[in-house]
């Protein structure tokens, strides 16, 4: 096990700069998730840590050692690929024991380690099968088994769940997390799915266009997003953004809608700038007070109701936990929870 230090790392393919300047410190045993939309550079960063891509500038260290010029095979890391990358001509047991075979480990020792990993993942009965005889979830487990057997310094996961169906994904999410708690190995995990990031990570690194937008614990990112991008990316359904400015101590939208200032914001510091008001759908309640509007869409899932409300030209999405007898086209009054609202500078995108 080891810590991983990523220091001012850059990556360019020819003239195209994929990663501009990324620095992340990952503590020993931490579960860190790199998340961002496609093309943000998260997979490239992971492949640079793995040694599959060269580092254009900056430094990556695993433990004490800078690994910039170390080959992938000398880094003592294990990686689970999005498409599993199982060796098709080898049985499950051979797949899992491949790294030890390369190291010329004692075959008996290899067998016992493969067996132990198989029992952790529930693969005991599949050891003699070939990858083509396995289901998607089983292949996923074998790929993880191959990583466990090696007892590496760092686990790397590259979108490992994106090829599984929704139900299996939730199950494997739990299993990967349990596995991390059991083994305690430093883990770096790449995903574009913010739910995966929120549920599994000790620490989330939000990447966008090759830059780190924010690093923090999942709930910190949810409660205190550093900027508009993180605010919009974390949380589902996405946060409402309303453009406007502060006037006489209240927020006035471009369409003339007035909203109470978020708690802890002094009118003076917000006055005179272009602003974006952010409020999450789940922090809006229908109490019979507050803004009046018309329901334009209403979706009830049983546990909650998702609705969009048109308040004088601003369409606001709301998530109600209680069962309300709302109908499309009906008038409704919604109240914003000031404690959970945010103000962002429209020009810089930074939170105030």
């Amino acid at each position: 096990m080891a810590s991983v230090t990523i220091n001012n790392v850059q990556k360019a393919f020819g003239n195209a700069k994929i990663i501009h300047d990324v620095s992340v410190d990952i503590a020993d045993g931490e579960f860190v998730i790199l998340v961002g939309p496609s093309g943000c550079g998260k997979s490239t960063l992971l492949r640079m840590i793995a040694g599959l891509e060269t580092i254009s500038a900056g430094k990556i260290a695993i433990g004490e050692h800078t690994v910039n010029n170390l080959r992938a095979r000398d880094r003592n890391i294990a990686m689970v690929f999005q498409n599993y990358a199982l060796y098709p001509h080898m049985t499950v047991a051979d797949n899992m024991g491949f790294a030890l075979r390369i190291k010329k480990a004692d075959p008996a020792d290899t067998a016992s380690r493969v067996k132990r990993a198989a029992s952790i993942l529930g693969l005991e009965k599949l050891l003699d099968r070939y990858p083509r005889q396995l289901s998607g979830g089983q292949r996923q487990r074998v790929a993880m088994g191959r990583a466990i057997v090696r007892d590496p310094q760092v686990f790397l996961f590259d979108e490992p769940l994106s090829n599984l169906d929704a139900k299996l994904r939730v199950q494997m999410r739990g299993e990967i997390k349990a596995l991390h708690q059991r083994l305690g190995t430093t883990t770096i995990y790449v995903t574009h799915d913010q739910i995966e990031a929120m549920t599994m990570a000790d620490k989330i690194v939000v990447l966008h266009d090759g830059l780190v937008e924010q690093i923090g614990a999942p709930l910190d990112l949810y409660d205190r997003p550093a900027n508009l991008f993180v605010a919009g990316f974390i949380g589902s359904p996405a946060m409402n953004f309303i453009h406007g400015h502060v006037e006489e101590g209240i927020f006035r939208s471009a369409g003339g809608l007035t909203l109470p200032l978020p708690e802890g914001i002094q009118p003076a510091e917000a006055a005179g700038r272009e602003l974006v008001y952010g409020i999450r759908p789940e922090h809006i309640r229908a109490t019979g007070q507050g803004l009046s509007g018309t329901v334009t869409l209403m979706e009830a899932t049983g546990s909650e109701i998702f609705a969009t409300v048109d308040c004088g030209g601003e369409v606001i999405s709301c998530l109600f936990r209680e069962r309300l007898a709302l109908k499309q086209g009906e008038a409704v009054r919604i109240e914003i929870d000031r404690a959970s609202a945010h103000l962002f500078d429209a020009r810089t995108g930074q939170r105030i």
Binding site: A50, G51, L52, R71, A72, R73, D74, R75, I77, A78, M79, F81, Q82, N83, Y84, A85, L86, Y87, P88, H89, F98, A99, I102, K103, Y130, P131, R132, Q133, L134, G136, R139, R146, R150, N163
Partner: protein
Amino acid sequence: MGSRLLNKIGLFFGALVLVSPAILFFLWMISLSLKFEIDNGAYPPILIPERFAWSNYAKVFEENNFLLYMWNSVLVTGTATLLALLIGVPAGYGIARLKAERSAIVIMIARMTPGLSYLIPLFLLFQWLGILGTLWPQIIIHLVVTVPIVVWVMIGYFETTPMELEEAANIDGASSWQVFRLVALPIAKPGIVVAFILSIIFSWNNFVFGVVLASRETRTLPVAVYNMLSYEQVSWGPLAAAALVVTLPVLVLTMFAQRQIVAGLTAGAVKGG
């Protein structure tokens, strides 16, 4: 139900029309090889004779030292193919992985150049080396045919193997050579079989090189068959029998080796692969 039957019949006839040139050609050759000369020249033509002329086949082996020529063919084709695999498979891997398309084109040009243009310089070279009486000149010149085939088939095959497999092996600690030997090569087995068969067929049937470079003792089968044509007359029966004997080993080999080309060997390696 009726339309399904009709579909089947239609498909059957379609297939029959498509394969009939090849099949009829074979049938006629078999027929020729089993008829006496009088039947072979008969009009209207006779497909199945009243008396089979097995003696045609006996004649092939009696008169022409055919077994020696067959052994020559086996040595030339076998050695040229094995050498081609030895050189061509790693070469194809290297070209595919390094994306060295230009060197692939150079190899292709070697294949496209008429074989005859190599013959005279090589003939002089072999003469100078003093190996003209042996099979080596033919083996070496057959590499001009076999190596490009193997290289090109293998480039195509290695390009389709998912890169992630090799990256995974890399991360598992394998060196480049181990990646090739333990991962890339076993997965490419169907491709190697295809390259092997094609190389054998082209080398086995090659005629021009043998005609120029072979002496009486080092003839290969196609040359031997050609030498059965004499100026006075063409004896169709023995000629067809000889041609069939030449074709048979390649035919059997192809049918046998085809089983090795198991489609979807890489299935299960990567999702959707």
